[in-house]
Amino acid sequence: MRADEVCKAEFAMPLHNPSYPLGPYRFVDREYLIITYRTDREALERVVPPPLELVDPIVKYEFIRMPNSTGFGAYTESGQVIPVRFNGETGGFVHAMFLDDDPPIAGGRELWGFPKKLATPSLRVERDTLVGTLDYGPVRVATGTMGYKHRAACERTVTESLAEPGFLLKIIPHVNGSARICELVRYHLRDVRLKGAWTGPGALSLEPHALAPVADLPVLEVLSCIHLVADLTLSLGEVIYDYHRPPLALERNPWTA
Protein backbone atom coordinates (compact mmCIF):
# COMPACT_ATOMS: atom_id res chain seq x y z
CA MET A 1 0.00 0.00 0.00
CA ARG A 2 1.44 3.35 -1.06
CA ALA A 3 2.20 5.93 1.63
CA ASP A 4 -0.15 8.54 0.10
CA GLU A 5 -3.00 5.99 0.09
CA VAL A 6 -2.47 5.40 3.82
CA CYS A 7 -3.10 9.06 4.58
CA LYS A 8 -6.19 9.12 2.38
CA ALA A 9 -7.71 5.86 3.61
CA GLU A 10 -7.05 6.42 7.24
CA PHE A 11 -9.79 7.22 9.72
CA ALA A 12 -9.22 4.91 12.64
CA MET A 13 -7.34 1.76 13.64
CA PRO A 14 -7.08 -0.87 12.25
CA LEU A 15 -6.53 0.77 8.87
CA HIS A 16 -8.29 -1.97 6.90
CA ASN A 17 -11.21 -2.56 9.23
CA PRO A 18 -11.59 0.39 11.61
CA SER A 19 -12.99 -0.16 15.10
CA TYR A 20 -15.74 2.37 14.35
CA PRO A 21 -17.19 3.82 11.15
CA LEU A 22 -17.58 7.44 10.15
CA GLY A 23 -20.78 9.08 11.42
CA PRO A 24 -23.31 10.57 11.56
CA TYR A 25 -24.05 8.73 14.79
CA ARG A 26 -27.85 8.51 15.03
CA PHE A 27 -29.42 6.93 18.12
CA VAL A 28 -32.96 5.59 17.97
CA ASP A 29 -34.98 4.95 21.16
CA ARG A 30 -32.17 6.07 23.41
CA GLU A 31 -33.42 5.65 26.97
CA TYR A 32 -32.02 7.56 29.95
CA LEU A 33 -32.39 7.30 33.69
CA ILE A 34 -30.81 10.46 35.12
CA ILE A 35 -30.52 10.91 38.87
CA THR A 36 -29.40 14.39 39.88
CA TYR A 37 -27.71 14.62 43.26
CA ARG A 38 -25.90 17.07 45.51
CA THR A 39 -22.28 16.33 46.38
CA ASP A 40 -19.23 17.99 47.99
CA ARG A 41 -18.17 21.17 46.27
CA GLU A 42 -14.49 20.44 47.10
CA ALA A 43 -14.71 17.02 45.44
CA LEU A 44 -16.03 18.63 42.26
CA GLU A 45 -13.47 21.43 42.32
CA ARG A 46 -10.75 18.77 42.19
CA VAL A 47 -12.13 17.20 39.01
CA VAL A 48 -13.56 20.04 36.89
CA PRO A 49 -10.80 21.34 34.58
CA PRO A 50 -10.55 25.09 33.96
CA PRO A 51 -11.52 27.10 31.99
CA LEU A 52 -14.77 25.27 32.79
CA GLU A 53 -16.40 26.71 35.89
CA LEU A 54 -18.37 24.81 38.44
CA VAL A 55 -21.97 26.01 38.74
CA ASP A 56 -23.50 24.19 41.71
CA PRO A 57 -22.22 21.17 43.63
CA ILE A 58 -24.43 18.89 41.56
CA VAL A 59 -23.82 15.67 39.62
CA LYS A 60 -26.07 13.94 37.11
CA TYR A 61 -25.70 10.18 37.36
CA GLU A 62 -26.87 8.65 34.08
CA PHE A 63 -27.80 5.14 32.99
CA ILE A 64 -28.38 5.02 29.22
CA ARG A 65 -29.68 2.13 27.11
CA MET A 66 -28.99 2.45 23.38
CA PRO A 67 -30.71 -0.39 21.55
CA ASN A 68 -30.22 1.03 18.04
CA SER A 69 -27.09 3.10 17.47
CA THR A 70 -25.87 3.75 13.94
CA GLY A 71 -22.39 2.29 13.53
CA PHE A 72 -22.11 1.28 17.18
CA GLY A 73 -24.83 -1.36 17.66
CA ALA A 74 -26.79 -2.09 20.83
CA TYR A 75 -25.18 -1.22 24.14
CA THR A 76 -25.59 0.36 27.56
CA GLU A 77 -23.70 3.07 29.33
CA SER A 78 -23.45 4.59 32.79
CA GLY A 79 -21.61 7.64 34.06
CA GLN A 80 -21.35 10.99 35.77
CA VAL A 81 -21.94 14.42 34.24
CA ILE A 82 -21.16 17.64 36.11
CA PRO A 83 -23.09 20.83 35.30
CA VAL A 84 -20.56 23.53 34.35
CA ARG A 85 -20.33 26.93 32.67
CA PHE A 86 -18.07 27.93 29.80
CA ASN A 87 -18.04 31.57 28.73
CA GLY A 88 -21.46 32.10 30.19
CA GLU A 89 -22.98 29.00 28.54
CA THR A 90 -24.11 26.15 30.78
CA GLY A 91 -23.52 22.54 29.83
CA GLY A 92 -22.36 19.20 31.21
CA PHE A 93 -18.76 18.09 31.75
CA VAL A 94 -18.62 14.34 31.21
CA HIS A 95 -16.50 13.14 34.12
CA ALA A 96 -16.72 9.34 33.79
CA MET A 97 -18.44 6.81 31.55
CA PHE A 98 -18.66 3.03 31.55
CA LEU A 99 -19.86 1.03 28.52
CA ASP A 100 -20.19 -2.59 27.45
CA ASP A 101 -19.25 -2.19 23.77
CA ASP A 102 -15.90 -1.63 22.03
CA PRO A 103 -16.65 0.61 18.98
CA PRO A 104 -18.28 3.42 21.01
CA ILE A 105 -15.48 3.19 23.60
CA ALA A 106 -12.72 3.43 20.98
CA GLY A 107 -14.59 6.00 18.88
CA GLY A 108 -15.77 7.96 21.88
CA ARG A 109 -12.25 8.25 23.31
CA GLU A 110 -10.38 8.83 20.05
CA LEU A 111 -12.79 11.12 18.18
CA TRP A 112 -14.29 13.27 20.93
CA GLY A 113 -12.39 12.46 24.09
CA PHE A 114 -15.19 10.76 26.05
CA PRO A 115 -13.60 9.33 29.23
CA LYS A 116 -14.91 5.83 28.58
CA LYS A 117 -14.02 2.52 30.17
CA LEU A 118 -15.29 -1.01 29.62
CA ALA A 119 -17.62 -2.32 32.33
CA THR A 120 -21.08 -3.84 32.65
CA PRO A 121 -23.86 -1.27 32.95
CA SER A 122 -27.55 -2.11 32.59
CA LEU A 123 -30.90 -0.35 32.52
CA ARG A 124 -34.19 -2.26 32.66
CA VAL A 125 -37.70 -2.37 34.08
CA GLU A 126 -38.09 -4.72 37.07
CA ARG A 127 -41.84 -4.89 37.70
CA ASP A 128 -42.66 -1.40 39.10
CA THR A 129 -39.10 -0.04 39.11
CA LEU A 130 -36.69 1.28 36.52
CA VAL A 131 -33.34 -0.14 37.65
CA GLY A 132 -29.91 1.01 36.51
CA THR A 133 -26.80 -0.84 37.62
CA LEU A 134 -23.09 -0.63 36.98
CA ASP A 135 -20.79 -3.59 37.63
CA TYR A 136 -17.02 -3.50 37.15
CA GLY A 137 -16.03 -7.15 36.89
CA PRO A 138 -17.84 -8.88 39.78
CA VAL A 139 -18.12 -5.68 41.83
CA ARG A 140 -21.34 -3.61 41.90
CA VAL A 141 -20.38 0.09 41.92
CA ALA A 142 -23.68 1.89 41.21
CA THR A 143 -27.38 1.18 41.67
CA GLY A 144 -30.06 3.65 40.61
CA THR A 145 -33.78 3.05 41.03
CA MET A 146 -36.84 5.04 40.01
CA GLY A 147 -40.58 4.53 40.13
CA TYR A 148 -41.68 3.61 36.60
CA LYS A 149 -43.36 6.48 34.71
CA HIS A 150 -45.07 7.97 37.78
CA ARG A 151 -45.62 11.46 36.34
CA ALA A 152 -45.03 12.99 32.93
CA ALA A 153 -42.21 15.52 32.96
CA CYS A 154 -42.25 18.92 31.28
CA GLU A 155 -41.10 18.12 27.76
CA ARG A 156 -39.91 21.66 27.08
CA THR A 157 -37.55 21.59 30.09
CA VAL A 158 -36.19 18.18 29.06
CA THR A 159 -35.69 19.28 25.46
CA GLU A 160 -33.85 22.41 26.64
CA SER A 161 -31.61 20.32 28.84
CA LEU A 162 -30.76 17.97 25.94
CA ALA A 163 -29.86 21.01 23.82
CA GLU A 164 -27.11 22.07 26.25
CA PRO A 165 -23.56 21.37 25.08
CA GLY A 166 -21.40 18.61 26.52
CA PHE A 167 -17.77 19.21 27.44
CA LEU A 168 -14.91 16.70 27.38
CA LEU A 169 -11.23 16.66 28.19
CA LYS A 170 -9.58 14.86 25.26
CA ILE A 171 -6.17 13.43 26.14
CA ILE A 172 -4.15 11.22 23.80
CA PRO A 173 -0.53 10.40 24.58
CA HIS A 174 2.36 10.49 22.15
CA VAL A 175 4.32 7.26 21.56
CA ASN A 176 6.88 8.48 24.11
CA GLY A 177 4.20 8.84 26.81
CA SER A 178 3.97 12.65 26.74
CA ALA A 179 0.57 14.32 26.28
CA ARG A 180 0.17 14.67 22.51
CA ILE A 181 -3.41 15.93 22.59
CA CYS A 182 -4.81 17.81 25.61
CA GLU A 183 -7.89 19.75 24.62
CA LEU A 184 -11.25 20.82 25.92
CA VAL A 185 -13.92 19.68 23.44
CA ARG A 186 -17.54 20.79 23.11
CA TYR A 187 -20.25 18.72 21.40
CA HIS A 188 -24.01 18.90 20.89
CA LEU A 189 -26.88 16.50 20.35
CA ARG A 190 -28.76 17.37 17.14
CA ASP A 191 -32.16 16.53 15.66
CA VAL A 192 -33.50 15.52 19.04
CA ARG A 193 -36.95 13.96 18.95
CA LEU A 194 -38.22 13.46 22.48
CA LYS A 195 -40.55 10.45 22.68
CA GLY A 196 -41.41 10.64 26.37
CA ALA A 197 -40.16 11.96 29.70
CA TRP A 198 -41.19 11.12 33.24
CA THR A 199 -40.31 11.93 36.83
CA GLY A 200 -40.83 9.94 39.99
CA PRO A 201 -39.19 8.89 43.23
CA GLY A 202 -35.54 7.95 42.82
CA ALA A 203 -32.57 6.62 44.76
CA LEU A 204 -28.88 6.17 44.04
CA SER A 205 -26.10 4.33 45.81
CA LEU A 206 -22.45 4.34 44.81
CA GLU A 207 -19.78 1.92 46.03
CA PRO A 208 -15.99 2.37 46.00
CA HIS A 209 -13.83 0.80 43.28
CA ALA A 210 -10.17 1.49 42.50
CA LEU A 211 -10.69 1.86 38.74
CA ALA A 212 -14.34 2.95 38.65
CA PRO A 213 -14.25 5.64 41.35
CA VAL A 214 -17.82 6.89 40.94
CA ALA A 215 -18.16 6.98 44.75
CA ASP A 216 -15.47 9.68 44.90
CA LEU A 217 -18.34 12.10 44.18
CA PRO A 218 -20.53 11.06 47.11
CA VAL A 219 -24.31 11.22 47.11
CA LEU A 220 -25.35 13.73 49.80
CA GLU A 221 -28.93 14.22 48.62
CA VAL A 222 -30.97 13.08 45.62
CA LEU A 223 -32.45 16.20 44.01
CA SER A 224 -34.45 14.84 41.08
CA CYS A 225 -34.97 11.89 38.81
CA ILE A 226 -35.87 11.78 35.15
CA HIS A 227 -36.58 8.95 32.73
CA LEU A 228 -36.67 9.80 29.05
CA VAL A 229 -36.69 8.22 25.61
CA ALA A 230 -35.48 10.10 22.55
CA ASP A 231 -34.03 9.79 19.05
CA LEU A 232 -30.99 11.99 18.57
CA THR A 233 -27.76 12.48 16.65
CA LEU A 234 -24.42 12.86 18.41
CA SER A 235 -22.51 15.55 16.50
CA LEU A 236 -18.77 15.65 16.13
CA GLY A 237 -16.98 18.01 18.48
CA GLU A 238 -15.02 21.23 18.33
CA VAL A 239 -11.91 22.18 20.26
CA ILE A 240 -12.63 25.16 22.48
CA TYR A 241 -9.41 25.20 24.49
CA ASP A 242 -6.01 23.73 23.72
CA TYR A 243 -3.97 23.27 26.90
CA HIS A 244 -0.77 23.15 24.83
CA ARG A 245 -1.46 26.47 23.13
CA PRO A 246 -3.94 28.49 25.16
CA PRO A 247 -3.34 31.84 23.34
CA LEU A 248 -3.76 30.25 19.91
CA ALA A 249 -6.88 28.48 21.09
CA LEU A 250 -8.26 31.80 22.21
CA GLU A 251 -7.63 33.31 18.78
CA ARG A 252 -9.26 30.40 17.00
CA ASN A 253 -12.26 30.36 19.22
CA PRO A 254 -14.88 33.00 18.42
CA TRP A 255 -16.41 32.44 21.85
CA THR A 256 -13.52 34.02 23.65
CA ALA A 257 -12.60 36.61 21.01
Binding site: M1, P14, P49, H95, R109, L118, V175, N176, G177, Y243
Partner: protein, 245 residues
Protein backbone atom coordinates in the same frame (compact mmCIF):
# COMPACT_ATOMS: atom_id res chain seq x y z
CA UNK B 1 -7.09 22.71 39.61
CA UNK B 2 -5.41 25.13 37.19
CA UNK B 3 -5.10 24.76 33.41
CA UNK B 4 -1.37 24.14 33.93
CA UNK B 5 -2.12 21.37 36.39
CA UNK B 6 -4.40 19.72 33.80
CA UNK B 7 -1.56 19.60 31.28
CA UNK B 8 0.93 18.41 33.88
CA UNK B 9 -1.36 15.58 35.02
CA UNK B 10 -2.50 14.67 31.51
CA UNK B 11 -1.46 11.18 30.43
CA UNK B 12 -4.64 9.39 29.46
CA UNK B 13 -8.42 9.62 29.85
CA UNK B 14 -10.14 9.96 32.25
CA UNK B 15 -7.77 12.54 33.76
CA UNK B 16 -8.55 11.53 37.35
CA UNK B 17 -8.60 7.77 36.86
CA UNK B 18 -6.75 6.98 33.62
CA UNK B 19 -7.72 3.79 31.77
CA UNK B 20 -4.07 2.68 31.89
CA UNK B 21 -1.11 3.69 34.04
CA UNK B 22 2.30 4.94 32.97
CA UNK B 23 4.69 2.02 32.28
CA UNK B 24 7.10 0.31 32.21
CA UNK B 25 4.88 -2.52 31.02
CA UNK B 26 6.52 -5.71 32.30
CA UNK B 27 4.96 -9.06 31.36
CA UNK B 28 5.69 -12.13 33.48
CA UNK B 29 5.10 -15.66 32.13
CA UNK B 30 3.80 -14.37 28.83
CA UNK B 31 2.87 -17.45 26.83
CA UNK B 32 2.64 -17.58 23.04
CA UNK B 33 1.50 -20.10 20.46
CA UNK B 34 2.68 -18.74 17.14
CA UNK B 35 1.48 -20.47 13.99
CA UNK B 36 3.34 -19.16 10.93
CA UNK B 37 1.64 -19.61 7.59
CA UNK B 38 2.12 -18.80 3.95
CA UNK B 39 -0.55 -16.68 2.29
CA UNK B 40 -1.09 -14.74 -0.96
CA UNK B 41 1.53 -12.11 -1.68
CA UNK B 42 -1.00 -9.85 -3.48
CA UNK B 43 -3.20 -9.65 -0.39
CA UNK B 44 -0.32 -8.70 1.88
CA UNK B 45 0.90 -6.10 -0.59
CA UNK B 46 -2.45 -4.34 -0.23
CA UNK B 47 -2.23 -4.39 3.55
CA UNK B 48 1.38 -3.51 4.33
CA UNK B 49 1.85 0.27 4.37
CA UNK B 50 4.90 1.89 2.83
CA UNK B 51 7.65 2.57 3.78
CA UNK B 52 7.48 -0.98 5.20
CA UNK B 53 8.39 -3.60 2.62
CA UNK B 54 6.87 -7.03 2.52
CA UNK B 55 9.59 -9.56 3.35
CA UNK B 56 7.93 -12.91 2.59
CA UNK B 57 4.24 -13.75 2.10
CA UNK B 58 4.24 -15.04 5.67
CA UNK B 59 1.87 -14.25 8.52
CA UNK B 60 2.31 -15.16 12.15
CA UNK B 61 -0.95 -15.87 13.93
CA UNK B 62 -0.10 -15.38 17.59
CA UNK B 63 -2.29 -16.57 20.45
CA UNK B 64 -0.99 -14.92 23.63
CA UNK B 65 -1.85 -15.48 27.28
CA UNK B 66 -0.68 -12.74 29.65
CA UNK B 67 -1.44 -13.81 33.23
CA UNK B 68 0.69 -11.14 34.97
CA UNK B 69 0.99 -7.82 33.14
CA UNK B 70 2.13 -4.74 35.04
CA UNK B 71 -0.62 -2.13 34.90
CA UNK B 72 -2.81 -4.18 32.58
CA UNK B 73 -3.72 -7.25 34.63
CA UNK B 74 -4.48 -10.74 33.33
CA UNK B 75 -5.73 -11.01 29.77
CA UNK B 76 -5.39 -12.84 26.47
CA UNK B 77 -4.88 -11.82 22.88
CA UNK B 78 -4.62 -12.82 19.26
CA UNK B 79 -2.52 -10.98 16.68
CA UNK B 80 -1.86 -11.32 12.98
CA UNK B 81 1.69 -10.19 12.33
CA UNK B 82 3.13 -9.80 8.82
CA UNK B 83 6.84 -10.28 8.12
CA UNK B 84 8.25 -6.98 6.89
CA UNK B 85 11.52 -5.18 6.39
CA UNK B 86 12.23 -1.59 7.35
CA UNK B 87 15.54 0.09 6.55
CA UNK B 88 17.06 -3.32 5.90
CA UNK B 89 15.94 -4.76 9.26
CA UNK B 90 13.44 -7.61 9.53
CA UNK B 91 10.45 -7.09 11.79
CA UNK B 92 6.75 -7.75 12.29
CA UNK B 93 3.91 -5.46 11.26
CA UNK B 94 0.91 -5.99 13.54
CA UNK B 95 -2.01 -5.97 11.14
CA UNK B 96 -4.79 -6.82 13.61
CA UNK B 97 -5.08 -7.67 17.27
CA UNK B 98 -7.92 -8.82 19.50
CA UNK B 99 -7.90 -8.63 23.31
CA UNK B 100 -10.33 -9.36 26.14
CA UNK B 101 -9.42 -6.42 28.44
CA UNK B 102 -9.96 -2.70 28.20
CA UNK B 103 -6.81 -1.21 29.78
CA UNK B 104 -4.38 -2.73 27.26
CA UNK B 105 -6.76 -1.93 24.38
CA UNK B 106 -7.04 1.75 25.32
CA UNK B 107 -3.32 1.99 26.11
CA UNK B 108 -2.27 -0.09 23.13
CA UNK B 109 -4.27 2.01 20.67
CA UNK B 110 -3.59 5.41 22.17
CA UNK B 111 0.07 5.11 23.17
CA UNK B 112 1.58 2.95 20.43
CA UNK B 113 -1.13 2.50 17.81
CA UNK B 114 -1.80 -1.22 18.22
CA UNK B 115 -4.86 -2.03 16.05
CA UNK B 116 -6.70 -3.67 18.93
CA UNK B 117 -10.34 -4.62 19.23
CA UNK B 118 -12.32 -6.19 22.04
CA UNK B 119 -13.15 -9.88 21.51
CA UNK B 120 -12.70 -13.23 23.32
CA UNK B 121 -9.30 -14.75 22.58
CA UNK B 122 -8.14 -17.72 24.66
CA UNK B 123 -5.09 -19.96 24.95
CA UNK B 124 -5.15 -23.10 27.06
CA UNK B 125 -3.89 -26.67 27.39
CA UNK B 126 -6.55 -29.24 26.50
CA UNK B 127 -5.05 -32.62 27.49
CA UNK B 128 -2.34 -33.15 24.83
CA UNK B 129 -3.01 -30.00 22.79
CA UNK B 130 -2.34 -26.29 23.09
CA UNK B 131 -5.55 -24.69 21.84
CA UNK B 132 -5.86 -21.06 20.84
CA UNK B 133 -9.25 -19.63 19.92
CA UNK B 134 -10.79 -16.31 18.99
CA UNK B 135 -14.50 -15.70 19.40
CA UNK B 136 -16.33 -12.49 18.53
CA UNK B 137 -19.62 -12.52 20.34
CA UNK B 138 -21.08 -15.97 19.57
CA UNK B 139 -19.00 -16.43 16.39
CA UNK B 140 -15.78 -18.46 16.24
CA UNK B 141 -13.26 -16.79 13.94
CA UNK B 142 -9.94 -18.55 14.66
CA UNK B 143 -8.78 -21.91 16.01
CA UNK B 144 -5.12 -22.81 16.36
CA UNK B 145 -3.87 -26.14 17.71
CA UNK B 146 -0.44 -27.43 18.53
CA UNK B 147 1.00 -30.60 20.05
CA UNK B 148 2.03 -29.83 23.63
CA UNK B 149 5.81 -29.37 24.07
CA UNK B 150 6.77 -32.01 21.52
CA UNK B 151 10.30 -30.77 20.85
CA UNK B 152 12.31 -28.17 22.75
CA UNK B 153 14.06 -25.51 20.71
CA UNK B 154 17.03 -23.39 21.72
CA UNK B 155 15.95 -20.43 23.80
CA UNK B 156 18.49 -18.39 21.83
CA UNK B 157 16.41 -18.86 18.66
CA UNK B 158 13.30 -17.70 20.51
CA UNK B 159 15.17 -14.70 21.89
CA UNK B 160 16.30 -13.73 18.37
CA UNK B 161 12.72 -13.81 17.18
CA UNK B 162 11.51 -11.67 20.11
CA UNK B 163 14.33 -9.18 19.50
CA UNK B 164 12.94 -8.17 16.10
CA UNK B 165 11.23 -4.76 16.09
CA UNK B 166 7.47 -4.50 15.83
CA UNK B 167 5.67 -1.97 13.66
CA UNK B 168 2.19 -0.50 14.05
CA UNK B 169 0.23 2.18 12.22
CA UNK B 170 -1.02 4.73 14.74
CA UNK B 171 -4.13 6.54 13.56
CA UNK B 172 -6.10 8.96 15.74
CA UNK B 173 -8.79 11.24 14.30
CA UNK B 174 -9.34 14.88 15.18
CA UNK B 175 -12.63 15.95 16.79
CA UNK B 176 -14.01 16.87 13.35
CA UNK B 177 -13.23 13.39 11.98
CA UNK B 178 -10.22 14.51 9.94
CA UNK B 179 -6.85 12.81 10.44
CA UNK B 180 -4.89 14.07 13.44
CA UNK B 181 -2.23 11.41 13.93
CA UNK B 182 -1.10 9.03 11.16
CA UNK B 183 2.30 7.58 11.91
CA UNK B 184 4.32 4.43 11.49
CA UNK B 185 5.59 3.45 14.93
CA UNK B 186 8.39 1.03 15.81
CA UNK B 187 8.66 -0.66 19.20
CA UNK B 188 10.84 -3.31 20.80
CA UNK B 189 10.68 -5.82 23.61
CA UNK B 190 13.53 -5.56 26.09
CA UNK B 191 14.88 -7.50 29.07
CA UNK B 192 13.56 -10.66 27.45
CA UNK B 193 14.00 -13.78 29.55
CA UNK B 194 12.89 -16.87 27.61
CA UNK B 195 11.67 -19.55 30.02
CA UNK B 196 10.97 -22.24 27.48
CA UNK B 197 10.36 -22.74 23.76
CA UNK B 198 8.96 -25.70 21.89
CA UNK B 199 7.89 -26.73 18.43
CA UNK B 200 5.49 -29.41 17.27
CA UNK B 201 2.68 -30.16 14.82
CA UNK B 202 0.32 -27.24 14.35
CA UNK B 203 -2.86 -26.20 12.58
CA UNK B 204 -4.80 -23.00 12.03
CA UNK B 205 -8.37 -22.37 10.80
CA UNK B 206 -9.73 -18.89 10.15
CA UNK B 207 -13.41 -18.07 9.60
CA UNK B 208 -15.04 -14.96 8.08
CA UNK B 209 -16.41 -12.17 10.26
CA UNK B 210 -17.43 -8.66 9.19
CA UNK B 211 -15.58 -6.88 11.98
CA UNK B 212 -12.83 -9.41 12.74
CA UNK B 213 -11.70 -10.25 9.20
CA UNK B 214 -8.80 -12.54 10.10
CA UNK B 215 -9.83 -14.87 7.26
CA UNK B 216 -9.13 -12.13 4.71
CA UNK B 217 -5.52 -13.33 4.93
CA UNK B 218 -6.07 -16.99 4.03
CA UNK B 219 -3.97 -19.91 5.25
CA UNK B 220 -2.27 -21.57 2.24
CA UNK B 221 0.32 -23.64 4.12
CA UNK B 222 1.38 -24.02 7.74
CA UNK B 223 5.11 -23.31 7.97
CA UNK B 224 5.85 -23.71 11.68
CA UNK B 225 4.36 -23.71 15.16
CA UNK B 226 6.17 -22.37 18.18
CA UNK B 227 5.09 -22.37 21.81
CA UNK B 228 7.11 -20.14 24.09
CA UNK B 229 7.02 -18.63 27.56
CA UNK B 230 8.96 -15.50 28.43
CA UNK B 231 9.21 -12.52 30.75
CA UNK B 232 9.64 -9.29 28.82
CA UNK B 233 9.08 -5.54 28.87
CA UNK B 234 7.12 -3.80 26.14
CA UNK B 235 8.92 -0.52 25.43
CA UNK B 236 7.31 2.69 24.33
CA UNK B 237 7.54 3.36 20.62
CA UNK B 238 9.23 5.76 18.27
CA UNK B 239 7.78 7.35 15.15
CA UNK B 240 9.69 6.21 12.08
CA UNK B 241 7.39 7.76 9.47
CA UNK B 242 4.81 10.56 9.70
CA UNK B 243 2.25 10.22 6.89
CA UNK B 244 0.98 13.75 7.47
CA UNK B 245 4.37 15.46 7.31
Amino acid sequence: MSADAVLKAAFAMPLHSPSYPVGPYRFVDREYVIVSYRTDREILEQLVPEPLELAEPIVKCEFIRMPDSTGFGAYQGLAQVISVRYAGELGGYTHAMYLDAHAPIAGGRELWGFPQKLARPALSVERDTMVGTLNCGPVKVAVGTMGYKHKAIATEAARTFLAEPGFVLKIIPDVDGSPRICELVRYRLRDVRVKGAWTGPGSLSLYPHALAPVADIPVREILSSVHLIADLTLELGEVVHDYMA
